[in-house]
Symmetry: C2
Subunit: 355 residues, 2 copies
């Protein structure tokens, strides 16, 4: 119905309806018997000048923000993302940060800037259709945010709050020499998906395999369950999510922990879909090490506890990829028995790197 | 020194220094005897995938987000804002939201997108020079955020968290018929300042008076102390900050409370600087009612408690401007003894309104 479209509503009315939907959802959930771990932090107010949140005793709060800009962090339209993809990914990248702290995500605020044309074309409805299922899956409530007009580009700032048992958040700084390094899932798929998107015209043969990789780029899955398990079982000594690329993110972790690391090239869990792209071994390795946006978790485990790390969780495996060393900030890649320096070549907005 | 400039640093290094500065500041503050109400919520981590926050028992958290877009919400350069102004205002508008809940702001996350040119031109350093003094004044720590490149425009999403005694947040929904309506400070100055900025070429006679109004537009002062007092003394039954304009914001409050309101035109505290602009009475009234961005607080007080509202606090006065009525959502303006409907004509990004 026309009157349900944002293009024909003022923004206040749009926000009012969004909020009513969220309140209805919260209400119906409260009246449904669900595990009591699902919604411990009651949301007392949505749609006031600020949202009001009550915390559980014995828990700390974690909070993270991720800014995504059209033309830089994503493209819309042909060879790019849909509004739904953007909604999914904006929330996913922040959920991934919360997962990397070992925390349980509880709520989010989404600030979205859109052009008048996209507002009229129902961008926001579709954006929230991408947010909804992911938020629902992890029990996350949309409690606020902002809406602005932009002259040219869509921008989204996604803020996610989570909770973690008091003093138990997994930081980047806890890795010690001898700790074993693990990653969840597989690597290089998201960067390869970006390449497929950019070379869509390259050839129909790639189409099918390409689709899987494109999904890795546009619909990343945050490793929330893994993060919580690694925290609750006190397995991870340090953790970070792979957003910039393993080579950069491991460097961040090592810097914070005052340690070095040695990574075994042969052990890296390359995304199986990479095979379809007829890349050289070095190209695949580079995607896995420097590609970024896989949103897998990289974590370290004390050697005596390494055997307790389960092989997989909910269909997502983990792989041991190396070891922490005591040489501060020195990263090494071992390939075919030869060690060479592993340099951070992941994504940086203002570095002299790609994009 | 060149190496201190963001333009010559990678973003990781810039963020690392920013964080170090914040940690130093937090540390020095902890070792300084300050009233213990100032920093009750220790920040356990900055610069990890997410910030970690510990809450005080007996307090709720409030959280708000405000998105500001260059070319829509502010202009840069001649006839516009400096990077410092943008830093100040981005934080101020979110502090104002927290103030409107009666809460004490504690920390913020700032997500900023800038072009490569502005990055090189030290936009971010100056932006944070605008954030810093305001954050310091209210004891707010910068605990996170994000940094992205943008193709054309600066965008800022400002997220502020605050704390308020359990169950005591002042909502928009608590106004009852008979309550007296008050506003802090003065009205219309920010909108007049925007006009001055846009007509800078109009005439040098305006310059001096214009400067004061421009400051109201570019450097709004959040009414944090007023918000806290009204909450702690249980004076305000409902509250909202004046961001869109009194006519729109009062309508929001009335809608949430299921009430109407009558406003007396003669009682509205017009910004004294408006006099310098040789406006008609109707023009001044329109700026005060519909101009927006004054970031004053509008609040309602039960009649028997209205006399307890102090006349001023920290140099900022309050003025009684009208009364809540029991006619849901009907807003009336009384001017020279005649009542007429008061229509919401404040700012809306996607309405058919100005801008």
């Amino acid at each position: 119905m026309g009157e349900e479209r944002s293009g024909n509503l003022g923004e206040f009315e749009f926000i009012r309806r969004l909020r009513q939907r969220e309140l209805n959802r919260l209400h119906s959930r409260r009246n449904t018997p669900t595990p009591d771990t699902r919604h411990p932090a009651p949301i007392l107010g949505i749609g006031d000048d600020a949202a009001v949140i009550r915390h559980r005793a014995g828990f700390d709060t974690v909070v993270t923000a991720d800014l995504l800009v059209e033309g830089i962090d994503f493209e819309l339209g042909t060879g790019g993302a849909t509004a739904r993809d953007v909604g999914h990914k904006a929330l996913a990248v922040s959920l991934s940060d919360v997962a990397a702290m070992g925390a349980r995500p509880t709520m989010c605020l989404l600030s979205v800037g859109v052009t008048r044309e996209r507002w009229r074309a129902r961008f926001l409805e579709e954006f929230y259709e991408g947010v909804g299922p992911l938020a629902e899956r992890y029990g996350v409530s949309v409690v606020g945010g902002d809406l602005s007009r932009t002259p040219e580009r869509v921008v989204v700032d996604s803020v996610v709050l989570g909770e973690v048992r008091k003093g138990r958040a997994v930081l980047r700084s806890g890795a010690r020499a001898g700790d074993q390094i693990f990653v969840t899932g597989s690597l290089g798929g998201a960067a390869a998906g970006l390449r497929v998107l950019r070379e869509r015209a390259a050839g129909p043969r790639l189409k099918r395999a390409g689709q899987g990789l494109v999904k890795r780029q546009l619909r990343p899955e945050p490793r929330v369950e893994w993060g919580r398990l690694l925290c609750e079982e006190k397995l991870a000594t340090a953790m970070i999510d792979l957003s910039d690329g393993l080579s950069s993110d491991l460097a961040h972790l090592c810097r914070e922990s005052g340690v070095g690391a040695s990574v075994e090239a042969e052990s890296l869990p390359l995304d199986p879909l990479l095979k379809s792209l007829s890349l050289t071994e070095t190209e695949s390795l580079s995607l896995a090490l420097d590609g970024g946006e896989d949103f897998e978790l990289l974590f370290t485990v004390a050697p005596r506890r390494a055997s307790r790390v389960p092989a997989e969780l909910g269909g997502v495996r983990v792989t041991r990829v190396g070891e922490v060393t005591d040489d501060p900030s020195r990263l090494t890649l071992v390939r075919e028995g030869r060690a060479r320096p592993l340099r951070p070549r992941g994504f940086e907005h203002f570095g002299d790197r790609r994009r």
